[in-house]
């Protein structure tokens, strides 16, 4: 009896091994093969958790000033206090709470600006690929001009017009990221357009809109998703840079870059005020970039296990 069961199980196992793995499983295998990507994912899960539940996770209100404990060092350093784990800043605000609430802002700016760049970028890219003569070359010329400006400089110029603030920072970062999406979508759509399945769909009477969004777009998604991850991390960096220059989110809002803008004055006496916000930015951006590498391994069949 037991042997038949074993045989059955072995047969099932064999069948499972022979069958195509489910796309999700295959994706996970590719992704988890990259150890860095998994570490990045774990770190980002923690950051996302902190961002979502910031008011409950953070020990204090991020803008509450404890004047009697100004510039308290982190708990493990000399003179540190256990109730302020990462110390306090020049106004006596708890740095840990500010970093946790800052995660909210950074992730939101990243997410919103990726969406605000990706949606128009994909549409423009598809239009440029489907109508390459007049409209397409016009769009691409415009994108070339935007690419000619160094990205941070363009963002700074836009902020100079719009004025500082959270929404304006998102817009500026999205505008800067737009040309890359247009180019990427156009390039991958152009290479798909010559495929037989597109011709077949066209012959079958599919309209332009259907061809664009139902037939072609899903097949261009892999490079777009990988690029979206990378541009998410650069959006966080740019938002922080704008904040640091005093053009982004305004104080007392606990944005990571804005926290560093005033830190320069404390470089000689309070290393934690300078070090911790930047380290958070670095680790988050690094984690996202590591995830991006893993996504590329898992999604892009051309590069899969190539190197």
């Amino acid at each position: 009896m037991a042997t038949t069961n074993n045989l059955k199980a072995a047969a099932a196992e064999e069948q499972a091994a022979l069958a195509f793995p489910s796309p999700m499983k295959e994706f996970w295998q590719g992704f988890s093969h990259n150890r860095g990507a998994v570490i990045g994912l774990v770190f980002m899960t923690i950051v996302v958790f902190c961002a979502l539940f910031a008011p409950w996770v953070a020990p204090y209100d991020p803008i509450e000033q404890y004047r009697e404990h100004m510039l308290t060092p982190p708990a493990w350093a000399d003179g540190g206090m256990s109730q302020y784990l990462l110390g306090t800043d020049e106004l006596g605000r708890d740095i840990l709470s500010r970093l946790i609430h800052g995660a909210r802002l950074s992730l939101m700016i990243g997410l919103m600006s990726v969406l605000m760049a990706m949606i128009p970028g994909v549409i423009l890219g598809l239009v440029a690929a489907f109508f390459p003569r007049v409209v397409g070359s016009l769009i691409m010329r415009l994108m070339d001009i935007m690419m000619a400006l160094p990205s941070l400089l363009l963002a700074v110029a836009i902020m100079a017009i719009l004025g500082p603030g959270l929404i304006n920072a998102m817009i500026a970062i999205a505008v800067v990221a737009l040309p890359a999406y247009v180019r990427l979508t156009r390039a991958s759509a152009m290479s798909e357009l010559n495929r037989d399945y597109v011709t077949a769909s066209r012959v079958a009477g599919a309209g332009t809109l259907r061809l664009m969004f139902v037939t072609v777009l899903p097949n261009c998604m892999a490079p777009l998703i990988v690029h979206a991850t990378m541009s998410f991390s650069s959006a966080i960096l740019e938002a922080a840079a704008l904040g640091f220059l005093g053009l982004g989110v305004q104080p007392p809002t606990p944005e990571w870059g804005t926290m560093l803008a005033s830190a320069r004055d404390y470089i000689e006496r309070a290393w934690w005020v300078v070090t911790l916000p930047g380290l958070t930015i670095l680790l988050s951006v690094l984690a996202i970039n590591l995830m991006g590498d893993g996504l590329r391994d898992a999604l892009d069949p051309k590069l899969k296990r190539a190197a």
């Binding site: 941070l152 700074v156 017009i161 960096l237 560093l260 470089i267 670095l282 951006v285």
Partner: protein, 342 residues
């Protein structure tokens, strides 16, 4: 060759025109008209307002204003700063050498160490050194460079006292700007008056090191990665195996046969870093109070000095376009396949 250059040049002209259109519109998107911006908080009676509008040609139709703007640009008139009343162009030319010196130093740092690290990582693929280089370069690529600058200042300037905190030269020295490049100017000053200006060159060099390292960090990461992958690709080629089989020394195979061919994509990447350098200069110059173009633009935005913002951005963008154009041409000279491609 000439037709190749002309073909590439013809693509750049509409880009430049579009750029002028962009900077022209930029200033008109600001809420309120330029006159209100100029007088700032004060109020202006309508009569004077209309007169000022007329004097500056702001009452003309927009397309006319644009053509005036273009014709001024072509005559080399980039307007006056609202704050200093100096011409934007002369302010730019005074400050540009500082940025150029910083950018060259940063690129030098990034190229030397990036190429070296990339080559060694590729030769010792899979070693601890290789993993280290790849890890460090990914970290460098993710680096918020304004924070990196602060950390370096904190460690090397404040803790160790090795390098100065900000500026280009100690105030004790009186160095005449001849070329605008501090290293050359201090060298000349020391040669002219060895007693008064003793140590000026060394001081200028110490001021330059940290900003150059900060600005060069991201290009360094990009160059190291690119060199490594390009080297790995070329090392697989048959002619490399042939060279080895002929019994050539390993150093000759690496540096003559492999690196020269691997360099082509690396050079393109280096050219593309010019934009990154210009953007990074804004942050680096702000941190180190380096009197260059980046700091100039940020200060102009803070002071709402719009002619400087508008045409300063135009100049920098033109510079990036021109550099990319030159890189393109050089690439065409190096690689005939690109020159003859349609």
């Amino acid at each position: 060759m000439l037709s190749f250059i002309l073909r590439r040049l013809s693509v750049q002209i509409p880009t430049f025109l579009g750029l002028t259109l962009l900077t022209f519109t930029l200033i008109r998107l600001i809420p309120g008209d330029p006159i209100e911006v100029m007088v700032g908080e004060r109020t202006l009676d309508p009569q004077m307002h209309a007169e000022a509008m007329h004097r500056l040609g702001l009452d003309k139709p927009l397309y006319q204003q644009y053509f005036d703007y273009l014709s001024n640009l072509l005559h080399g008139d980039l307007g006056l700063s609202l704050v200093t009343k100096e011409s934007v162009w002369s302010e730019f030319t005074t400050l540009f050498p500082a940025t150029l010196e910083l950018a060259i130093a940063a690129m030098l740092f990034a190229s030397v160490f990036g190429l070296l690290a990339g080559v060694i990582a590729a030769i010792r693929r899979g070693s601890v050194f290789d993993h280290g280089v790849m890890g460090i370069s990914l970290t460098g690529f993710s680096m918020p460079i304004f924070w990196w600058g602060l950390i370096l200042i904190m460690f090397f300037s404040v803790q160790l006292g090795w390098t100065p905190v900000s500026g280009r030269l100690d105030l004790a020295y009186d160095v005449q700007p001849v070329t605008g490049f501090m290293l050359i100017d201090t060298w000349l000053a020391e040669a002219a008056d060895p007693e008064l200006n003793a140590g000026a060159f060394r001081d200028a060099l110490m001021h330059l090191i940290l900003p150059a390292v900060v600005l060069g960090t991201i290009p360094l990461a990009v160059i190291a990665r690119m060199t490594r992958s390009s080297m790995l690709e070329v090392l697989r080629e048959d002619y490399v195996r042939t060279a080895r089989a002929k019994g050539l020394s390993p150093a000759r195979v690496i540096f003559i046969h492999t690196l020269r061919n691997a360099l082509i994509p690396v050079l393109t990447v280096m050219g593309l870093q010019i934009g990154t350098l210009m953007g990074g200069a804004v942050l680096t110059e702000t941190i180190f109070s380096w009197p260059g173009i980046g700091k100039w633009l940020i200060d102009a935005i803070a002071r709402r000095d719009y002619p400087v913002v508008q045409n300063g951005i135009l100049i920098v963008a033109t510079l990036v376009i021109v550099t990319n154009f030159v890189v393109d041409i050089l690439y065409g000279i190096a690689n005939p396949r690109i020159r003859h491609a349609k």
